[in-house]
Symmetry: C2
Subunit: 434 residues, 2 copies
């Protein structure tokens, strides 16, 4: 489904703009302005004449210019007439923000607008949508006031959510955690365009590398399976389904869709798939300066059906070079009084060892002999692109700042070892099945 | 085991203080100074004469004053002689920070110091300890430089960790997440005092209400079971065991120890047990302004063997009072355009309804019609102490600031609905078995 016209609309009309700054049309208008939207915005309300120094049209039909996209925010019962106006005005793309359709049991009104949209061949996101956001096109039509909710930076994750509330809260969290987003699409009731249509669009979207999908139901199972299979051959889809059952899990597996059991997992999986180097091999080598953290990682590796790598015999040479007490195995434990040079030697050794595929680097930054140079060591070794290097670090502000520096270089950090291992498992499984 | 003398030591000697500011003895000395320790600190090193304007003694024996506690940071091979000095100096309590004993396979040296400690009747935390921290006594002997790692505020959670690395990283995270701590004890190799001895001490500690325990092994199973049973009758113990097996899970259950499958769960469980009102009833009522979030909560309630409460018939009266579109059931869905008053009415109704025991309040703060008054509503209703109120909110800085305001009033917030439900399940199970 080609939605480029909808996403690249230049002339946008917001239908149902109120003077009350908390009402949907008003919130969306302000967001378009504050996001530096480069096109033209037209406001429509039969009662209002002027709003924030802008002329308000009595109806869509009284606008002279061609409109590319109508964003509809009027009460549900008025929506059918607005759709008819769109037809008259030759508008081919709409977003329906209005709610009060099948999501509260009003199937009659839902069917009515569905029939109209089909008859007029209008493409529609919604009804009951929270809007869409495109970090590259500077297009922000979200029903979320920017004053309290910052927007994410540009990136390559797109998030597709049936639920507005999950979408809103999750987007806000993604922003706080410094994820980069391409597109956010709240598709609500999928009255006309459904999850499959939008997935197909994201397959062609050059700014999207990883797709996150929050589902409550699937409108057309066969269509979904067919399109998801095609999409996941090129881009990973991470899906979370509320009230999922075995049928869904089987379908996800068949289409190589990654199942997230929680939004927390969706966060972790998106990050590793966006940033990590491709890996099919499943032999993990753990390096740690904390025995306990190493043990938690080992535990999860064994549970996850991954392999603990077995170091080359040359490991005795490494042992002689290290300054601190250590146990050279898997985990390779450098102990809490190791220094940055011990890490450098160990990372280099493991990257050159042919017996492992992925390096899980646990760093307890709190250890007194470690300093910020550890960042340079990791970035330097990672630049050689020999194996994916995944970091685990837990802590406060200092750990967070180091973590962010690494993520700027596309090196992923996780808070806990078990969460990192599950994300690694997902990475390997996706590329093995692809 | 009475460890009050150890924790309330007034005259402390640090044995093995180096001029190098990154070395253990030096780090610990600075921490004691910077934490405004109210007692006297004596430094010991055979080579040094002056450090940070402080006299350095050649040995413990050259100090004239009585010493209450020796913190030993010398290389492992020198530890036996220092213990002998402690005996001569009549020191009854020590912390051994030094590592290089059984944790790296040096069982001979471990046994040697164990025999000495027993023979001389010296109480010892460690070896291979990261130190102890007491937020109330201003006693900070941690091997963690304060410059990068802030310390937590006062609170009622005590954390007991066999692993120094897990302890350090987790304490740093607890601080960032604004948890309040009573005592942090890294007991390392448990050469002399083991986890059971320290649990017994925490049972009597008036500043501790909830105990977190990170274990790698248990030294004496029967002793542990006996003491843990006694402790958990009064204070919840949340334990995480690396490489746990069925035997451990069975023992935990028998002693009413709460099993945390991950450090993330330990965080969640500690928070709810510290702050929430006691509850044995398991009928949960969910109120939400996001259908999707409500669905995730419902899903987890059904999976967790908890009950979805069934609202009283008077619910139709509530329906008439609400301003927004809504579905009055469980979840009680107020939709994304509800306002603060809708929440107030719904919370009041559910607190007065006899068909539920716990209120799970999901608030998507991102909704445009909600404002900060929602805090006053929640705090006011919670003050009536009719039922535990647990909050779910996900998001960025704005959500976080609201969350912190609630936690100051002892109202717990979780990031995701499923994590909240698992924490509620833990709360109910603990009090039902107690």
């Amino acid at each position: 489904m080609d939605l480029n016209k909808l996403f690249k609309a230049k002339n946008i009309a917001i239908v149902g703009v109120s003077k009350n700054p908390k009402k949907p049309g008003h919130v969306i208008f302000r967001n378009l302005v504050e996001s530096n939207f480069q096109g033209k915005v037209f406001l429509v309300n039969p009662n209002a004449y002027q709003l924030l120094n802008k002329y308000v049209y009595k109806s869509l039909l009284s606008i002279k210019e061609q409109i590319d996209l109508a964003i509809i925010t009027v009460p549900a019962r008025l929506v059918p007439n607005i759709i008819k106006d769109c037809r008259k005005k030759k508008i081919e793309d709409v977003i329906i923000i209005s709610s009060g359709f099948k999501e509260i049991g009003n199937n009659k009104l839902e069917n009515e607008i569905n029939l109209l949209l089909n008859k007029f061949n209008i493409k529609c996101i919604g009804a009951n949508s929270l809007g869409i956001f495109d970090a590259y096109a500077k297009f922000d039509s979200l029903l979320l006031p920017r004053i309290n909710f910052k927007r994410p930076k540009k990136g390559s994750i797109s998030f597709l959510s049936q639920s507005g509330s999950v979408g809103a809260a999750f987007l806000d969290l993604l922003t706080k955690e410094d994820y980069g987003i391409s597109k956010f699409i709240s598709y609500g009731n999928a009255t006309n365009l459904d999850e499959s249509d939008i997935l197909e669009f994201l397959l062609e979207d050059k700014d999207t590398r990883v797709i996150c999908l929050y589902l409550e139901d699937v409108k057309d199972g066969q269509k979904f399976l067919k399109i998801a299979k095609k999409v996941s051959k090129n881009k990973p889809i991470i899906a979370m389904k509320a009230l999922a059952d075995e049928t869904y899990f089987a379908a996800f597996k068949q289409a190589n869709i990654i199942n997230a059991n929680s939004l927390r997992e969706m966060l972790d999986f998106a990050r590793i798939l966006e940033k990590a180097v491709i890996s099919k091999g499943n032999r993990i080598q753990v390096i740690t300066n904390g025995f306990g953290y190493g043990l938690i990682a080992k535990n999860e590796i064994l549970k996850s059906d991954l392999k603990l790598a077995i170091l080359d015999d040359k490991k005795n040479l490494l042992k002689k070079q290290l300054s601190s007490l250590n146990v050279i195995g898997n985990p390779l434990n450098l102990s809490n009084i190791c220094n940055t040079e011990d890490y450098r030697l160990s990372i280099k050794f493991c990257l050159n060892d042919n017996n492992s595929d992925i390096l899980l680097l646990i760093i307890v930054y709190q250890s007194p002999l470690l300093d910020e140079n550890i960042l340079d060591v990791i970035i330097e070794e990672n630049n050689l692109k020999k194996k994916p290097i995944i970091i685990v670090s837990t802590g406060g502000e200092f750990s967070d700042s180091l973590k962010r520096s690494l993520e700027e270089k596309n090196i992923v950090s996780f808070t806990f070892p078990d969460e990192a291992v599950r994300a690694i498992k997902t990475l390997i499984d996706y590329y093995s099945r692809k």
